[in-house]
Subunit: 321 residues, 2 copies
Amino acid sequence: MIKIAIDTLGSDNGSELIVQGIIDFLKDNKDVSIVAVGKKEELTKLNGICEIVDAPEIVPMEAGPLEVMRMKNSSMYQTVLLAKEGKVDAIVSSGSTGGFLSSSTLLLKTIPGVNRAAFISPFPTKIKGRKVVILDIGASNENSPEELRQFAVMGELYSEHILDVKDPKVYLLSNGTEDKKGSPVGKEAFKLLKDDPHFKGNIEARDALAGFADVVVTDGFTGNVFLKASEGMAKMMSGMIKSAFKKNLWTKLGYLHVRKGMKEMSETMDYKSTGGAMLLGVNGVVVKVHGNADAYSTYCAIRVAKKLVEKDIANKIKEGI
Amino acid sequence: MIKIAIDTLGSDNGSELIVQGIIDFLKDNKDVSIVAVGKKEELTKLNGICEIVDAPEIVPMEAGPLEVMRMKNSSMYQTVLLAKEGKVDAIVSSGSTGGFLSSSTLLLKTIPGVNRAAFISPFPTKIKGRKVVILDIGASNENSPEELRQFAVMGELYSEHILDVKDPKVYLLSNGTEDKKGSPVGKEAFKLLKDDPHFKGNIEARDALAGFADVVVTDGFTGNVFLKASEGMAKMMSGMIKSAFKKNLWTKLGYLHVRKGMKEMSETMDYKSTGGAMLLGVNGVVVKVHGNADAYSTYCAIRVAKKLVEKDIANKIKEGI
């Protein structure tokens, strides 16, 4: 039976919604057992349906690596420790991103041949049902060309095994499509990648979601800007659409007509359903949920963690790299 | 009288639309004279209403600096030369971005105290009528911390003098809002900027269009990714909205109700009306129109060039830097 530990503390919305997500997930998934880590008194609803570990300290949002590693009684440290000791197959947290990243990297260690772990996330594309995975979207501040090459391999393996894409097409995020374009690091990475049969060249940010790329490789700083620029624009436009419909009775009537189409759009754009970002390249399955996690995003994140365990992604990377 | 030279060649859509933009502009602006540079036979409609320079060669899209500088009979080189020789106050082109950038930089030279010129563009924000200027959006592949500091000063001056913002708020594009966040270059730039009274700290890409920042400073590679990620997402969502309205008679009816709101949105998002990107930091006024320029975007670009001349932006930078 797959066993997954959930850090229930540190999310913006408190542990209650995380607990609800766990309850919902367990209802639908009899083949998974959960270990909930957090403040015992906040987890009473889980009594009897899952294992509980009392670890009441909360890792602050901006904790550095040393701070997290010292907070042995924090829910986050204890969650990662369960994975390190082989007691669970996967871990999920919506707490401090930096804290989760550093404790996971330090305790679980990177897979041999992987210099740096990377956050990867599937993005919607213009082509319905088709996702593109982009990595690194923020585990690093800077990366070497060799690290970008490793990201490409991890992305390929993720696309193949988790999204069932045959022969994934891999691109390097750049400021133009020509071979010679790119940041200094990107240009060097291009040279390392050009013999990879999956590698199709440079891609511009405006085409990353067009649907022809399966994997987009970038350094963590640029990837983070890409992620948040896309997010910001999507939110801005959603806001404008909403206010266009809210103006008066007639526009509200208008909304009734296009409700279905708008729902389809928000489903396509729904980052919650993708289950957050996965930390690839460490020995284990690590899923980071967005800080404002609710029951649904927790549910989706556990579902993704389960799939990553079933598909044995860490070992696939170990063999593939 | 303000005199502006327009390179009529090298745009994706041919010179005809550029010519139309010039005609439209001259109709509305009696206080500006235009020099149209290009293939004489394509400019016959302009006979009698503006000066024409016959320079029929087209600089290829991917021309390197050496290539442009050798193409003395190209419309682009001749356009920039007019500025260098002081025969015009501003130049506009929708041809090769790299070619226009390098010929402008090499012929006009950067302003003393400016190491690198930067492309700057106003972006729409969530707050109606408020724009944020972002630079560099692609003149460089990489920048030094000192260059980022200079971009901040140029952005401030642009915001103040061109957009009439009093006391503009300047931010550094980063992967988090805390002071210690950022790429290695960004962190160094932060130190150089922290005593600037306009500087308010780091900003995440998702907040760049939120409306509280007047200037966002970034290296050219990251800025280009930001620009194109925002553009890609905006296009993707517009496409989805359109197809939601196009489904059937009812949804088309729905559109009638929200037409006004949707029009407002596309006006807010309309990059054409911003007049493309301005090259700041060279001795002169240089405006680059998007490659798929039409009459309207040409019109807007000339209008921006005129404003930059009226506000004497190059001298403002010379004094401010």
